[in-house]
C-alpha cells in the first residue's frame, strides 16, 4: 500500500512558473516549470541527465548562488514564503530543518572526519534550542528509526566505517532529524545495489508514512517511480513535458518523450524484441531547440513543433502533457502491418 495521502490538503510546497538561467547562458536551464507537493505525498521528477531535475532541487534548497543561477521568473511558495526570494540567512535556517535533502552519493555528503553521531546532533543543535545531550539522544533515536543495528555504538563510527547502504541511512537520519515538511531526495538509491536499494526505498516509504513528510524524489529509474510515486513530473530539457498521477502516466502516457522513455527501458519479463530507441541525445544548453525542445529527437515532429512551444494541456483529471499532437493516435495512423 502507498503511504497515506491527503489529496485535498493544501500544498506544502508550490512551484509556479520557475525559470532559471545560468549566467551567460543563451537559454534557460529551467524554463517555466510548475508543480505542487502535498503533505504525505510523493512526487517523482523523472528525466535523463541534463534535463534540469537536479538544478530544480538545488535551487529550491537555496544551494545555487543567485549570482550564478538567475531566477528569471516564478515563485516557490513554502507556506507563505517564497523560497526564491529568501535571504541566505533565512534559507540556512530552513535548510535541514523544515526542508531537507538527501543526495546520490552519501560518502561525499558526509564529513569524513566527524563521527556520524556528532554530524546528526549538529543538525539538531543548529535548528533547535536543545542541550548537547538532548541532540545526541535525538541522533541515537534517529539511527534507530532508520534501522541501523546497534545504533548507540554506531554513533561513534566515522563514515568510512559504514557500507554504502548504511551511509545512505545516516543521510536519511540526518535529513529527517528535525521533522521536515519537505524532503527532496536526488537519486538516493542510484549508487546502491538492488537489494540495498529495496531496503532504502522501503525505509523511505515507511518513514514518510510515520511523519507525513512531503517527498520530492528525483530519479531516472522508472521502476523506482512505479514503486514509490503518487504523482510524476516528466522533465525534458528544462521543461515539464507531462505530469499526472503515477497510474495515469504509465497507463495513458501522452508525450512522445514519456512514451519513448518507457519503451526504451528493457523489461524484466520475457524478451519482446529489440528495444525502441530515442534518436540522438539531450541537447546542450548552448544548442537548445526552439519551440518544443524535444522536436529534433521526436519521431512525430511536424513543422510547427520547432516554431511554437506547446503548453501543458489537460488530458484528464490532473493529467497534463505538452504536445501539439497528443493524443498521438488521433493524428497519426499506424502504417500497414
Amino acid at each position: 500500500m502507498r503511504p497515506e495521502r491527503e489529496p485535498h490538503a493544501a500544498p506544502v510546497l508550490s512551484v509556479d512558473n520557475l525559470a532559471l538561467r545560468f549566467k551567460g547562458a543563451p537559454a534557460n536551464i529551467i524554463d517555466g516549470i510548475s508543480f505542487d507537493v502535498r503533505p504525505g505525498e510523493t512526487l517523482c521528477i523523472v528525466g535523463e541527465s541534463g534535463c534540469g531535475k537536479s538544478v530544480t532541487a538545488l535551487s529550491l534548497m537555496g544551494l545555487l548562488p543567485r549570482s550564478v543561477a538567475q531566477v528569471m521568473s516564478g515563485r516557490a511558495m513554502f507556506g507563505d514564503r517564497d523560497l526564491l526570494t529568501l535571504s541566505q540567512r533565512t534559507m540556512a535556517d530552513l535548510r535541514g530543518n523544515t526542508i531537507s535533502m538527501i543526495f546520490q552519493e552519501p560518502m561525499t555528503s558526509l564529513n569524513p572526519s566527524y563521527r556520524i553521531g556528532d554530524q546528526i546532533a549538529e543538525v539538531v543543535l543548529r535548528h533547535r534550542n536543545v542541550t548537547g545531550a538532548d541532540a545526541r539522544r535525538r541522533a541515537r533515536d534517529m539511527l534507530e528509526r532508520v534501522r541501523i543495528p546497534a545504533a548507540a555504538s554506531r554513533l561513534n563510527d566515522y563514515p568510512h566505517e559504514l557500507s554504502g547502504g548504511m551511509r545512505q541511512r545516516v543521510m536519511i537520519a540526518m535529513a529527517l532529524a528535525n521533522d521536515p515538511a519537505v524532503l527532496i531526495a536526488d537519486e538516493p538509491t542510484t549508487a546502491l545495489d538492488v537489494t540495498i536499494q529495496a531496503q532504502i526505498i522501503d525505509l523511505i516509504e515507511e518513514l514518510q508514512k510515520e511523519t507525513g513528510t512531503a517527498l520530492i524524489m528525483i530519479t531516472h529509474d522508472l521502476g523506482v517511480v512505479a514503486e514509490i510515486a503518487d504523482r510524476v513530473c516528466v522533465m525534458y530539457a528544462g521543461h515539464i513535458v507531462e505530469d499526472g498521477p503515477v497510474e495515469t502516466i504509465f497507463d495513458d502516457p501522452q508525450h512522445p518523450y514519456t512514451i519513448g522513455l518507457m519503451s526504451s527501458v528493457p523489461s524484466v519479463g520475457p524478451r519482446s524484441g529489440r528495444l525502441a530507441t530515442i534518436a540522438g541525445m539531450v541537447p546542450a544548453i548552448d544548442d537548445m531547440p526552439t519551440g518544443c525542445r524535444f522536436t529534433p529527437r521526436c519521431p512525430f515532429a511536424q513543422e510547427n513543433c520547432a516554431l511554437s512551444p506547446p503548453v501543458l494541456d489537460q488530458h484528464g483529471p490532473s493529467h497534463r502533457a505538452a504536445c501539439h499532437y497528443a493524443p498521438l493516435e488521433t493524428v497519426f495512423a499506424e502504417t500497414g502491418s
Binding site: 521502476g223 525502441a276 519521431p299
Partner: protein, 375 residues
C-alpha cells in the same frame, strides 16, 4: 589450432584469484580471495552474463576469463588451451581475440590520442594492414558503431558518454576479436542512450560472430540481452541457468532475493520485497560453510558448517545450495511486468514504427550543429 566445431570457447576449472594483503612493519592484513574456485563454460556465440552485487567478484572473474588478470589458482582455457601462463608473444596473439569494453568510457580512452588513433592502435599491433587500409577500416568501424568517419580527427573529450562508449566498442572491434567482454558497458549511460548501445552491441554480435560476456548489476539489462546467466555471491557462483529458467524459476535463495528486489516499471506490478537484510559480508573474512548463510532466510545449521557445491539442477542449470530442492517446492511467482494498457501499447507501437522511419539512429547526428574539423 582451433577445432571449429568445439562449442565451448572459454572454460575455467576451479579458477581462483587472491589479492595479497598489505604487508607492513607493524601490521599485515590478510589477502582477499575475490574469485574462489569458479568452474564454468562459455559457449561459442552466446551472450553469457555474470550478475551480482558490488564486491561479489564479477569484474575480477571477467578479467580472468580474458586474461586481463592472471589467476592465482586453477585454469582458464581458451579454445581448449590453458591461457594462465603465456609468453608475451602468445599474450599478444590472444589479445587480438579477446577484447574488453569498460564501464567508464571517460577514463578508458587516452585523452591525448585522436579517436582515429585510438581505433587504429589495435590494428597496428595485431594486423599487417597498410596505413591506408587501417585508415579505411577506422572509417568503416566508426560508421558501423554509428559515428561519423570524420570524427576520427577529434579527441575523446569532445564526445558525450554514449558516443565515447561507441568509440570504446569500435576500438574493441578493431583487432577482429572473437570474444568481447563488456564490464557494465551501459550502466553509466542515460536510459535512451543505453537502449541505443544495447541494440548496437546485439547487432555487432550477430554481424561479427562474437561471443559476448556481459557483467552487469541491472537485472533488466541482463534479462534483455543474455542467453545464460551466472549469479555470483562473494566470489563464488551460486546459480547458473539459461535466462528464461533463471527469471521464471530462480532456485538459489540469493537469486530469489535479487529477483524480489527488482523494482518493476509498472504501478500495477508487485511491490519490491525486502527479504535480504544487512549487507554483503566482507570478502576478507567470508562466512563459513555457505557464504550466503548469515543472510539466508532458509539457512540451517548444515549451511553454517558445510559448503554446498555447484551441482546440476535440471536442464542446463546448476545451483549451490543444500536445500534447493525443498526451497524450489515453495517457489515464488516469476518476475513479470504486468501487461500495459491497450492505449499505452498502441502508442508504443506508433513510436516504434515512426522512430524506425526516422533517419537511422546514429550518434553521428548528435553533434550535427557543432563545428568540427574535417580533414
Amino acid at each position: 589450432m582451433r577445432p571449429p566445431t568445439r562449442d565451448r570457447i572459454i572454460e575455467t576449472r576451479a579458477v581462483t584469484k587472491r589479492f595479497p594483503g598489505r604487508k607492513g612493519l607493524f601490521r599485515s592484513s590478510a589477502g582477499v580471495s575475490a574469485v574462489n574456485e569458479v568452474s564454468l563454460d562459455i559457449r561459442r556465440g552466446e551472450t553469457f552474463s555474470i550478475v551480482g552485487e558490488s564486491g561479489c567478484g564479477k569484474s575480477t572473474l571477467a578479467r580472468l576469463l580474458v586474461r586481463l588478470l592472471p589467476p592465482s589458482g586453477g585454469e582458464v582455457l581458451y579454445e581448449g588451451n590453458d591461457i594462465s601462463s603465456l609468453s608475451d608473444a602468445e599474450m599478444r596473439r590472444l589479445r587480438k581475440d579477446l577484447q574488453f569494453v569498460f564501464q567508464d568510457p571517460f577514463s578508458s580512452l587516452n585523452p591525448r590520442m585522436t579517436v582515429g588513433a585510438l581505433i587504429e592502435e589495435p590494428m597496428k599491433v595485431h594486423t599487417s594492414l597498410s596505413r591506408a587500409e587501417r585508415r579505411r577500416k577506422v572509417a568503416d568501424l566508426l560508421a558501423r558503431v554509428g559515428l561519423r568517419p570524420a570524427f576520427a580527427n577529434r579527441y575523446p573529450h569532445e564526445f558525450s558518454g554514449g558516443q565515447r562508449q561507441r568509440i570504446g566498442i569500435a576500438r574493441a572491434l578493431a583487432s577482429g576479436p572473437r570474444v568481447i567482454v563488456g564490464d557494465e558497458p551501459v550502466s553509466a549511460l542515460d536510459v535512451s542512450v543505453q537502449a541505443q548501445v544495447i541494440n548496437l552491441l546485439e547487432d555487432l554480435k550477430d554481424e561479427f560472430d562474437l561471443t559476448l560476456i556481459l557483467i552487469a548489476h541491472d537485472l533488466a539489462v541482463i534479462r534483455h540481452m543474455s542467453d545464460r546467466i551466472a549469479v555470483m555471491y562473494l566470489g563464488e557462483i551460486v546459480e547458473l541457468a539459461p535466462n528464461d529458467a533463471l527469471f521464471e524459476r530462480p532456485l538459489h535463495p540469493y537469486t530469489q532475493a535479487l529477483m524480489r528486489a527488482i523494482p518493476i516499471a509498472s504501478p500495477h506490478g508487485r511491490s519490491m520485497n525486502v527479504s535480504l537484510t544487512g549487507d554483503v559480508p566482507s570478502p576478507l573474512s567470508p562466512p563459513s560453510g555457505c557464504r550466503f548463510h548469515p543472510r539466508c532466510p532458509q539457512a540451517t545449521s548444515l549451511c553454517a558448517s558445510e559448503k554446498p557445491v555447484l551441482t546440476g539442477a535440471g536442464t542446463g542449470r546448476a545451483v549451490a545450495c543444500h536445500h534447493w530442492e525443498t526451497i524450489a517446492e515453495s517457489t515464488q511467482a516469476p518476475v513479470r511486468e504486468p501487461p500495459r494498457s491497450t492505449i499505452a501499447e498502441r502508442r508504443f507501437a506508433l513510436f516504434r514504427q515512426r522512430s524506425q522511419r526516422q533517419e537511422p539512429v546514429t550518434a553521428a547526428t548528435e553533434t550535427e550543429n557543432q563545428a568540427f574539423r574535417e580533414e
